[in-house]
Symmetry: C2
Subunit: 297 residues, 2 copies
DNA sequence: ATGGCTTGATAGAGACTTTCTATCAATATT
DNA sequence: AATATTGATAGAAAGTCTCTATCAAGCCAT
């Protein structure tokens, strides 16, 4: 029964019987039969299909909601039992927006010291994808913006506030300044994240608010790529202070605070709103709570 | 998997492998094997046994909690699907304390008018048993005292407030009075509920508070039995106003308000604290909310 | 239009799981 | 000490699940 519900979850992610089957480690006929069994037991159609997956019926969407819950609870139960026996162990699956990646180590390092048997898997994703993965039980927790866009059924722990810096070579225009304004930044050709990233949308908004326009010379979904370009001394970028500090500044590259308006975004840990949490997740939330005051400098 | 968790629930109620198996409609070896499988999967002992059921291990108690939740959710899901297909239908299982039995009709009658395909099963139970049945998913809702004793993980909807009356023959001592005090009542030989009933414990407390003692001439767990004795004219009792009214007073039997102290107990509907509720239960809660203002006269 | 491709349903065989009956060992009860 | 109760175990039968192979229906490109 619960494995059938897992089929539904997989189908919701993959929107494709074959791929969903593969994700579940069964063949396509097995998954098809499983879904059909659910439909028979419930006495309602769950999936609209016309030679291919189309969508869930309204009943199917309700079952999907229940599946998330029941499958989630059953996993949490297993993990709880496992923790009671072996102490905290297993794998913590995490996803973070690129601009938050640099601070993940501040969370994982003390965590690992306390619970050395927990392994980590950490994905770099957009804020929307983070929430999606969370919904589909593919990750245990996410790190993303917690104030701007609607989050859904999650609990949040604020971690720190993102302040923006202009990263540029010291001998470039503006390179000798102590602070710059957003309207000045708007004049500089920038390397920025791709527009599917919330960070980029925030920066676009700020630039537009300062009368400028966002016409980045270069876009990427990788912070490392952006930073390596800036590091050549020929490019500039706007980054959160935290990540700029972490990446390490050389003599020639400066991170200049951007004021007017002083833009601030809160980044936080996001976990499924369900009590109780898995022990592994609960420990992460505890760590985040402990860490938050230190980070919010 | 879910059926194995049902085994755990049955075992928790019955504390006996054989009876639990019977309750689940399987043979004892099947249930034993099911529990063992759970233990293997979880990797921990769930039940302490020494040639018979002794108790759940701490791990077993956690699994029991999860089982309540997961099994409850899976039932709710099924019922929800059923309602989507056939409208509200199925069976509403209810348990009420004896003194509240008379008002159940005020809830069931309008309910049935709106949802004629729902059938009812209603048990008369002590307040403790009501909560127990609720915990074990054996009933959908209970009607009991909502203020006095600890309730556990339930939501409550207050229904009405219980005022006490002395039921006695008009020609008995006190029979001609308009009101009496608890200390006067304490002088009269009474027919009362058995001490496992919370109503009896409340009345005992009130009598003791008035300097009297509770020495009922006759005890029973049946309100009908108590009332039929009072009705002979030779016995007296203390009952909530609501039930006294419902049972109907003859010329010779009077229901005299007891004042000093004016004792009041709130009776309410009690349902599992879980979102969302089954559609059948949700409709009952709606009915209770609608009814409460009318009843609280 | 038509041939090739993708997608999900169906059929049938084999493997695995479940559940039953029968029985046993251990502990209570008398 | 004899008996009854309780839960575990063994083995057979039934049922379920999952696989491979194949099919039919739509999609797409030429």
């Amino acid at each position: 029964m619960i494995d059938k519900l897992e089929f539904i979850l997989a189908l919701a992610r993959e929107k494709h019987f074959g791929r969903a089957a593969e994700a579940c480690g069964v063949t396509q006929p097995t998954l098809s039969a499983g879904v059909k069994q659910l439909e028979d037991q419930m006495g309602v159609l769950l999936v609209n299909r016309g030679s291919r997956f189309q969508s869930f019926t309204p009943e199917g969407q309700r079952v999907l909601e229940w599946a998330r819950r029941i499958v989630g609870d059953s996993r949490t139960m297993r993990e709880e039992m496992n923790s009671l026996k072996h102490g905290l162990s297993g794998r913590l699956r995490l996803a973070a927006i690129p601009t938050a990646l640099a601070m993940v180590a501040a969370l994982t390092t003390p965590y690992r010291e306390k619970h050395p048997n927990v392994q980590f898997t950490i994905y770099s994703r957009t804020s929307i994808e983070v929430l999606d993965l969370l919904d589909n039980l593919e990750i245990d927790a996410g790190i993303t913006y917690v104030e701007n866009e609607p989050l859904g059924r999650v609990s949040t722990v604020p971690l720190y506030r993102e302040h923006y810096r202009l990263l540029t070579s010291a001998d470039a225009p503006l390179g000798n300044r102590d602070t710059v304004t957003w309207s000045e930044v708007a004049q500089v050709p920038l390397c920025l994240l791709t527009p599917d990233m919330q960070n980029r949308r925030i920066i676009d908004r700020l630039l537009k608010g300062a009368g400028g326009e966002s016409r980045p010379t270069l876009e990427s979904d990788s912070m490392i790529l952006l930073y390596s370009h800036v590091r050549t001394g020929r490019w500039a970028s706007v980054m959160p202070a935290k990540i700029a500090d972490t990446l390490g500044l050389t003599d020639t590259i400066r991170a200049i605070p951007i004021t007017q308006p002083k833009a601030v975004q809160t980044i936080g840990l996001v976990v499924p709103q369900r009590e109780p949490m898995t022990p592994i997740t609960a420990a992460l939330v505890a760590e985040a709570r402990r860490l938050a005051p230190q980070l919010s400098g």
